[in-house]
């Protein structure tokens, strides 16, 4: 199995405050990693730093993605390289339909990779195939990105975008927040169907719930900017029982 992501002694801060205090994490193809931890542990900071959110400053450490220095890449270059973040709070963009949004995203990527644009019929075929994966109705594509979406629609929209962009490493940041059981199941089904032995995922969550549906190979506890414990999926039940305080 090839290594996809190698994080070594990663330190990061925002507005001068250190949030990540030495993260080490290696992710190989085919693996699903759950990152769990209390509020303020640095879970969202980790996803922000991996995807290149401008406000965050990496003060020490290295991150390699497919052997390349991830930290030198712009957010769009990271996307082209195969990283995707499902946002905890997806942003709404009035006046821009989901279809147009994704067409623009794919066209930017293909241009950067020196590939010709998808023809309209290729784009339509791709759309249709991926919509089925997340049980999405065609009307949805005409709606403006995240505008007036319910919590469930937003997260389903994120997974649809993920399906369209077909990343090698998906980071799901609190994808379960604000979802009822039915929406949770649809989202998790989508993620599971997109998973292949060549792909990997990082599932960031507070709770056990999502991990009943997306079964992790590894579970990490992130606390105060460090991974303090790593184990198999049995750790989820232990956390649920003991709480984060006792680790």
């Amino acid at each position: 199995m090839q290594t996809l992501l190698e994080i070594h002694d990663l330190h990061a801060s925002i507005a001068g405050k250190e949030i990540l205090k030495g993260i080490n994490l290696t992710i190989r193809e085919g693996e699903i990693h759950a990152v769990m931890g209390p509020n303020g542990a640095g879970k969202s900071t980790l996803s922000a730093v991996l995807t290149g959110k401008p406000q965050y400053e990496v003060t020490d450490g290295t991150v390699l993605f497919k052997g390349r220095n991830l930290l030198e890449m712009t957010p769009e270059e990271r996307s082209w390289a195969g990283i995707f973040l499902s946002f905890q709070y997806p942003i709404d963009i009035p006046g821009v339909s989901i279809s147009n949004f994704l067409k623009t995203a794919l066209s930017c990527r293909r241009k950067a990779q020196g590939l010709p644009e998808l023809t309209p019929s290729e784009f339509l075929a791709l759309r249709k195939e991926k919509m089925a994966l997340v049980q999405m109705k065609p009307e949805f594509l005409k709606r403006d990105v995240n505008v007036g979406f319910s919590g469930g629609e937003k997260k389903r929209g994120e997974i649809f975008q993920m399906a369209m962009l077909d990343p090698d490493l998906s980071i799901l940041d609190e994808t379960d927040s604000g979802l009822d059981v039915d929406a949770l199941r649809i989202v998790a089904d989508g993620v599971n169907r997109l998973h292949t032995p060549q792909k990997a995922a990082i599932v960031i969550t507070h709770y056990q719930r999502l991990l009943d549906y997306i079964v992790p190979d590894f579970v990490h506890i992130l606390k105060d900017g460090r991974i303090i414990k790593t184990a198999g999926r049995e750790l989820v039940a232990e956390i649920e029982e003991k709480g984060y305080e006792n680790f």
Partner: protein
């Protein structure tokens, strides 16, 4: 029979000249007159009689790099149950100057006016918007709203916005508000994380900003062609990307 509902769409590229893109009744009958020019224009003046409804869409897209456009708009809500909607968009770059002044007067009761003015200033341009809503004594049950949103694309560009309300009647619903800001970085990050380049992300943001004005254009073909024209103008506002 009185014309109850009409829409006018005006395109203004230079001082004193407006191209009429749509002008006519909009309740289902394709009677819209278009293609005319209003020359020697020193302002737009409308008076709305009882039951009349006017939707005015103004697209101010100056042509020349040092163009100056002054545009006063005066509207009098003369009759009860009259309704006025203004959706205006002004884009200025380089050394262009745009001054828009909108006066809406409510002399009598039961009329409704609503305004949305969106301005984008890049380069070393200057945009000034002044809006006055005057609700005279006796104009009870008036509803009058005004929103001015401005986007600054460069540090040299300046926007001045001055919405004013004068209310001399009771039992009215009125509001005004103004915002001025730059393109949102969280939005940009969201788009970039999907592989959209910063340049394309900015264009989508601009489109998103101007859309509420364009969306008001009722004829679909016209809306599409205005959208295209505005998008072209927006694309030239970031010369160095």
């Amino acid at each position: 029979m009185r014309i109850s509902k009409m829409q006018k769409v005006l395109l203004i590229n230079e001082w004193g000249l407006a191209e009429v893109l749509a002008d006519g009744v909009t309740d289902g009958r394709p009677e819209s007159r278009a293609g005319g020019l209003m020359d020697g224009l020193d302002g737009l003046t409308y008076a709305l009689a009882e039951g009349e409804s006017l939707s005015l869409v103004l697209l101010v897209l100056p042509d020349a790099p040092d163009a100056v456009i002054n545009l006063p708009v005066q509207v009098k809500m003369d009759g009860p149950n009259s309704q006025f909607e203004l959706h205006a968009l002004a884009l200025a770059g380089e050394r262009q100057k745009v001054n828009v002044r909108v006066d809406v007067e409510h002399p009598g009761p039961d009329a409704r006016s609503n305004q949305l003015i969106r301005c984008v200033a890049g380069g070393e341009s200057r945009i000034a918007f002044e809006g006055l809503i005057k609700v005279l004594p006796g104009a009870i049950r008036t509803e009058a709203f005004q929103t001015s949103n401005n986007l600054l694309l460069s540090e040299q560009a300046k926007v001045r916005t001055c919405p004013q309300l004068e209310i001399y009647a009771d039992d009215v619903k009125c509001s005004h508000g103004a915002t001025t800001g730059s393109l949102d970085e969280d939005e940009q990050f969201y788009m970039r994380s999907r592989g959209i380049t910063l340049e394309q992300a900015r264009l989508l943001q601009l489109r998103s900003f101007v859309w509420p004005v364009l969306a008001q254009i009722e004829q679909e073909d016209l809306r599409a062609s205005c959208d295209e024209q505005v998008s072209r103008a927006l694309a030239t506002m970031f010369p160095r990307l």
